[in-house]
């Protein structure tokens, strides 16, 4: 991971991940049974990328064919590099194609991860591997351990098509040194905290509104499905009016179908993204809390030194280390926040424009249906 601010500040330093074995290391040779299973990931020493010593288990074969981009881009985007204000990305990752694996000991799901990059660190332009939820969790933990000052996106799993249950937010908090109380948050971080609180609240409200709209639309749909056929029933007892009435019935049927598509879209595309952002902002709040802890620790240590009334002018090493840590954290966090804001702006622009689009499409379909029956209704019957 490249550093956020232009000037790299010394951090607590990453641990070498070579020293940490992969949880699956011992059992890499699982027997794969079942029709649609794929070989489990092997452990190979991969080349590190970026300028940190991170090792990712890499396995599988480079992708022969390119994978289709996943429909919900936000969900599948794993941004591992900075992209502030329109910097060109050179690393693209998509996650899709969940597959079930049935083994003797357990059943689990793997996801296909397709990585495309022009970076020199990658041997090939494209990779395709399969990872399961455990692997994601492992990665996240490693990243947090090695980069505690950066925001690692919350590994939010939400209930959707077999994905695992929601992880508890605030995982990273367990890494915090406990027991120090912060006197007051600096203004700028307090402002961030307030913003995040309000933001989450508003998103929550929007979620409820969207759910309510979908509910009302579904009830409207139920009534429409009864309404249309009554015109058909009527048409059966009429002579000259039979065709016009039947036409109206068909028209209402088309509108019903269009409405169903709208509600499906909103449920599947709109709501999940909204919810991810609520979790995302909760993650940010936890990072803020972590930052507070670090500052508290530093202040406590500083106070302790002052109380010892030593007249040594030099500040003890561990206090200095603490201060460094705090400064680092603050800088990283501010950088992360900027990036988060930028992403958020883009994502919501896209999300809301998408919502508007779906509604426009719904109305366009209905418009077409009604306009097409006007000539039918105006038709004069030849024979009496």
């Amino acid at each position: 991971m490249s550093g956020g601010p232009p000037r790299a500040l010394p951090s607590t330093g990453p641990h070498s991940l070579r020293d940490m074995p992969h949880p699956l290391a011992g059992s890499s040779s699982e027997e794969a049974v079942g029709g649609d299973s794929t070989p489990s990931p092997d452990l190979l020493m991969a080349r590190s990328f970026g300028d940190k010593d991170l090792i990712l288990p890499n396995g599988g074969t480079p992708a022969g064919t390119s994978s289709p981009a996943s429909s919900s881009s936000l969900l599948n985007r794993l941004q591992l590099d900075d992209d502030i204000d329109g910097e060109t990305r050179d690393l693209f990752v998509t996650v899709d194609d969940p597959k079930k694996h049935v083994c003797t000991m357990e059943t689990y799901i793997t996801y296909r991860i397709t990585t495309k990059s022009t970076r020199v660190e990658f041997d090939l332009p494209e990779y395709s591997v399969r990872r399961r939820y455990q692997d994601f969790d492992w990665l996240r933990n490693k990243l947090e351990e090695s980069q505690p000052t950066h925001l690692i996106p919350d590994l939010n799993a939400y209930k959707k098509q077999g994905m695992a249950l929601l992880t508890r937010v605030g995982e990273s908090v367990k890494h915090v040194t406990g027991g120090y109380k912060l006197r007051s948050r600096p203004l700028e971080f307090a402002a961030i905290g307030d913003y995040l609180d309000t933001f989450a609240l508003k998103l929550g409200t929007i979620d409820r509104i969207a759910q309510r709209i979908i509910k009302e639309e579904i009830e409207y749909l139920v009534e429409l499905r009864e309404y249309g056929p009554v015109y058909s029933t009527w048409s059966a007892i009429e002579g000259e009016l039979a065709e016009p009435l039947e036409g109206v019935s068909a028209c209402i049927g088309n509108c019903s179908t269009a409405l169903e598509e709208l509600t499906d879209n909103m449920t599947e595309d709109f709501l999940p993204v909204l919810r991810e952002y609520i979790l995302y902002s909760d993650s940010m709040k936890n990072v803020l809390k972590k930052r507070d802890q670090v500052q508290a620790e530093y202040e406590a240590k500083l106070e302790a030194v002052a109380l010892r009334k030593e007249d040594r002018p030099k500040v003890p090493a561990d206090v200095e280390k603490c201060q460094d840590r705090m400064e680092c954290f603050n800088a990283d966090l501010k950088a992360d926040m900027e990036r988060w804001q930028s992403n958020k702006r883009q994502d919501f622009r896209q999300l809301l424009m998408g919502m508007a689009d779906k509604n426009i499409q719904y109305y366009e379909k209905c418009l077409m249906a009604w306009e097409s029956i006007i000539p039918l209704l105006q038709e004069k019957q030849e024979a009496k």
């Binding site: 509104i209 009554v230 007892i237 009016l241 424009m353 719904y362 418009l367």
Partner: protein, 450 residues
Amino acid sequence: MEQAASDPERQLQPAPLEPLGFSDPGLEAAVGEEAERSREEGTGDGMMTENNFWLKKIEISVSEAEKRTGRNAMNMQETYTAYLIETRSVEHIDGQSVLTDSLWRRYSEFELLRSYLLVYYPHIVVPPLPEKRAEFVWHKLSADNMDPDFVERRRIGLENFLLRVASHPILCKDKIFYLFLTQEGNWKETVNETGFQLKADSRLKALNATFRVKNPDKRFTELKHYSDELQSVISHLLRVRARVADRLYGVYKVHGNYGRVFSEWSAIEKEMGDGLQSAGHHMDVYASSIDDILEDEEHYADQLKEYLFYAEALRAVCRKHELMQYDLEMAAQDLASKKQQCEELATGTVRTFSLKGMTTKLFGQETPEQREARIKVLEEQINEGEQQLKSKNLEGREFVKNAWADIERFKEQKNHDLKEALISYAVMQISMCKKGIQVWTNAKECFSKM
């Protein structure tokens, strides 16, 4: 006013815009009772021809509604709504209209007029009145008779009723209808003086006939069946439409919440603020647009309701036919039995059981003089009966002919009107879709600027 179609079968229907004057013998059978009555009432205040009422085009409008309080028949205070009826005659030459009459009527007077028309024109599909109480309402509409929206829609419905009567080739000539439009005071008394209530068929009699008639005209049986089905399907349609309106209202209104939350959210945003704020405004516009949309749809519902009530009018004509037919069958049956009695008396054979026959057997034969007397009485009765049967037959046939003619007229009117209603409904839907596209396009643009 509508012109009656030239149709040999409808020769007995006078063309409209002719001056009233029942001198044409061809009209006698058709108008029958109404001609009698008109001639009776024609004395004194002059025939309608003097006023040239029907020579000019007239415009009728129910232009206002007003709340009134008064005392009812039991001297209790009541509140009711009165409607202003204005009649204008239109000069052919320049199309200018001159206000000729203007008076106030309440709903009960309209009901009285209609009841009268039903009795005197049983062969006509009499236009219905707008509903007395609000039915098929969706939740936002009030079911209160005093509610201004209901009163307004009723005003339109009453105007529609008067226009329908005025444009009917036969009903438009009715004196009582004319007086309804022109004579404010004393009209109720005038109507009651016709004694029409006495001439009305009892419901019980009509029901009895429906069950017992043996040979009604098949067309009327089918028509009755059709009117039942029409009533059922339109009721269903109106009920579901009301529920649809309810739901649609909910969908639109909930979007208004977006307006508020976007506004609140924009307060904490820097670059996104403006876009969110203006998008929120469009959501408010969207939410409030549903009120007008649904108000327009009420007109469509009212058009459907008119034909729902017309179904009842159709059924009334069918019932009248059944009644007349039953009457005829009973008269024929009675005549046949009398003839048989006569025959038995004359020939001395007793084929049917009769009390007289039994008593004769028990107590001895009657004298030839007695028998002659009885035969004579019977022969008189048979004669009378035959005359009656003839006239009933004629009446019945005339009724069928005239009724069917009006039914054909009604069918064409119905097809035309309902097609127009469907077209206007489609136009409403199109307008609603276009508005929706407009609002969401505007919102999308705001979002794009976030």
